[in-house]
Amino acid sequence: MENQTEVGASRAVLYKVLDGLSSKSAIRYSVYAFSLVFFLAFILVPPLFGILFKINSLGEIYAFPELLNRAHLAIAWSFIMAFIVSALDLIAGLPLAWFIVRSKSRLINIVDTLADVPFLLPTVALGYSTRLFWSSSDGIPRFFGGNVLVSPGFVLVLLLHFTFSFPVVVRVMVGELLGYKEIYEFAARTLGAEPFTAVRTITLPLLRPALVASFLLSFSRSLSETGATIVVAGTFENGPVYINNMRDKGFEGSLVYVSSVLILASVLLFFLIRFLGERLRLPLRKVWPGFEAKLSVPASVETRNVVTLLVFSFFVIVPSLFVCLPMAYALFDGTLTSALTGSGPWGDFWNSMLLSYSIGFISTLTNILAGLPVAIAIARKKFGRATSILDAIVNIPIVVPSIALGVSLNFFWSGLRAIPEFWILVLSHTTITYTYFVMAMSAAIESIPVEMDEVASTLGAKPFTIFRRITLPLTKYSVFSGAILVFTRSVSETGAAVAVSKTLETAPVLLVSWIRGGVIPQSTQALGVGFLILASFLTLLLLRITVRGRG
């Protein structure tokens, strides 16, 4: 009891000190300035300018025209692939989002939950599962009497990218449709528009920002993905696969060339889409009453829903969860025992899991501390007009393909020789995940009416009290979900980790080398992937319980 009183008293003293500090504008602005400097020095500059340290080696690639051609082809494929995948995602994802929001079927909750599965799986696990499903004798080929239905290569990469970027589109569009006021659609229908026409001419144009955002997210996810792509690529090369191959062979010039082109092109494209997206006018005014009436009849709607669900099941859910099958075999064939005793390759595996989790923990903590002031600054427009610039450039780490980012980061931090490999890994994971936290938090803070802060202030609350008693309680779920996102993203990151690793291997990197090496038995691979998935789910569960507990 006495202890509790003491704790309470010292907490009150701490709050008072922080209150006093926060009411000094010089100190308040120092916090913003510090977090901004952190963002520039640790998040923005290293990935963009690290590559300049090795710009001299760029000449090497011109000595090998064949490598240069391959590089150009790989870069082109990266963008073509991202474009096709994002377009397919929109075509297939929008009807599913519609189904989830508008259908009264009891299936909705199940479909809604399942739609997140590929999002939560570490991509390397997803790649492995996809490969087993489409191109192994245990998967779908067995029904067609062969060993392989889709060989590793372009089509398999396309299928994989479709699978993992699909939930992004569904999630964004479901959120947007839930917030959309149906009244506009009703108004159009009372004015004589068929349901399909009302949606096409009224709802879709109003949802344009979300359509552009989901296209952009899906595009950058496809452009950036490395771990899973390597697993299913075969001889096909896109940017990240090419970088990985060149890294294996030690061709630094090629590495620098493709990385810098990818960084530059993706940043330019991001700003272009962001800029043009706002000005984009969808040519949707024309109406075809007869044809659209046919599309609006219940039979057409039912058919569309069935096709949507079939595509969702066959191309997204089953390939994602297919890994469960070999995992189940591995539980009973002795692999589990050797895994738990740490024999054979499992010693390395557990070390890599520990490494991944340590990195995830440190980078999450760093991002919360350094990212929160930036999120507040963006949400509350603390830097005036410069805020919108900050808001845009904060996105760069997720827009740039993570392996290119890793290559650049590696050059940057390795240039400062005193930094140990572990910390370079931590820094690169922090960079990769920074945007997720800042964006999640700034959106949450923006949703709190600014009047709350103003009223609290006129009621005598100093800035720290406002933060502690208003901002934090109202955004705590976002803080936790932002942290979860950062943590899971860090633990499953492959591209940057591959680029930075020298002697240390994180779990996804180790699993990629297991799968590609061909030495480790399939049951061991499957169980390794299974442990990574299990650990991800347990982390999510733990954090969710913590949030509820404090609720």
Binding site: S457, T458, A461, R469, I470, P473
Partner: protein, 368 residues
């Protein structure tokens, strides 16, 4: 009780001056209403006093203390925004206790003050509810209790009744006035509802485009509007264009369209000057026959509207102008129907004369 003084205060957003060289004095214990149309700068003026925004020019004093650079949390004012900004994650009692706790009072003291204020605002029975569980009227009272619990003696209310339905609004405006009086508060109340301002205010400031148009007690604003804008915004009026055709020792003759002549008491304008005549609807009398030799205008009834306690007749005059006349419903049974012949009598003492606005009458009236 604090007093507030603004000296030549200007606040700009970009190139637009939301508040344009405003000087204003609010005496201790005064209930001041800032009245104006949307975009007139009312809320900005309130936020300047609250310390949420800083003036670009001028000086602001609260109790003779220059407060230009004093942050909101040190001004000891209670600001209540339009939609109350009740803290949704806190219960009623926690909302009310927020300010005492933020000011460093102990939990017991904070609880004592907030319970008292919740009692005053008749919310004692709902201490454990969350704001979302309260009705609109209760939310408004909670916001008021939270403000009162801050023990600030300067209360700043931004459209405090705006979010309520019409009936509740009427009921609560009296209660609000009582509460303010009982607690000896100096109050600044922003509204666009002139009826509300007339009822609660000791003094009204009419604002337009960031500039004060007129300030004074409600009767003065209503009975002696300084310009066309105030006459129209506060109470509404008929407006007729014309020019001074003759001056006499008693007043002036104004010639309207169609050579119609009106006699007014005003002597402040010279012969030949373009003017606008304004007359309240309730000051223009509608009759079936010519009851006076002068200022009785002939026309036909164009429309009839029942406004509840009064009837409004719109008469199309022979010269093409329109005039509205408001008659208590109970006295309105004169058998008028649309298209019937009618006369409108304008008594000279009830007619205001304003110089013709440089932007034109139509624009001047539209600019609200």
């Amino acid at each position: 009780m604090p007093s507030v003084r603004l000296v030549d205060v200007t606040k700009r957003f970009g190139k637009t001056a939301a508040i344009d060289h405003v000087s204003l004095e609010i005496r201790e214990g005064e209930y001041l209403c800032i009245l104006g149309p949307t975009g007139s700068g009312k809320t900005t003026l309130l936020r300047l006093i609250a310390g949420i925004v800083k003036p670009d020019e001028g000086q602001m004093f609260i109790d003779s203390r220059l407060v230009n650079d004093v942050p909101a949390h040190e001004r000891n004012v209670a600001y209540m925004p339009q939609h109350y900004a009740l803290f949704p994650h806190m219960r009623v009692i926690e909302n009310a206790a927020f300010s005492p706790l933020a000011q460093g009072l102990s939990g017991t003291e904070a609880a004592k003050i907030s319970v008292k204020m919740l009692g005053i605002t008749r919310l004692a029975g709902r201490v454990s509810s969350f704001p979302a569980e309260l009705s609109g009227g209760m939310q408004q009272r909670l916001a008021l209790a939270r403000s009162l619990a801050s023990r600030a003696k300067l209360l700043l209310l931004d459209e405090p009744l705006g979010a309520l339905d019409a009936r509740l609004r009427v009921e609560l405006r009296y209660r609000l006035r009582e509460l303010v009086r009982e607690n000896n508060l100096t109050t600044v109340h922003v509204t666009h509802d002139q009826e509300e301002a007339m009822i609660v205010a000791d003094k009204i400031v009419v604002l337009r485009n960031g500039k004060i148009q007129q300030e004074g007690p409600p009767e003065e604003i209503y009975n002696k509007p300084k310009n066309i804008f105030v006459a129209n915004f506060v109470g509404g009026a008929n407006f007729l264009e014309g020019f001074i055709s003759e001056r006499t020792s008693e007043g002036s003759w104004v010639e309207l369209r169609g050579r119609l002549r009106i006699f007014v008491r005003d002597k402040g304008h010279h012969v030949g000057e373009r003017v606008v005549l304004a007359v309240r609807e309730e000051s223009s009398t509608i009759c079936r026959s010519r009851e006076d030799e002068i200022n009785t205008l002939h026309g036909t009834i164009k429309s009839i509207s029942l406004l509840g306690d009064s009837m409004s007749y719109e008469v199309l005059l022979d010269n093409g102008d329109s005039l509205k006349s408001k008659v208590p419903t109970i006295e309105s049974n004169k058998g008028f129907s649309i298209g019937a012949e009618a006369f409108v009598l304008l008594k000279p003492q009830n007619i205001w004369v304003f110089p013709y606005p440089p932007v034109g009458l139509y624009k001047e009236l539209e600019a609200m």
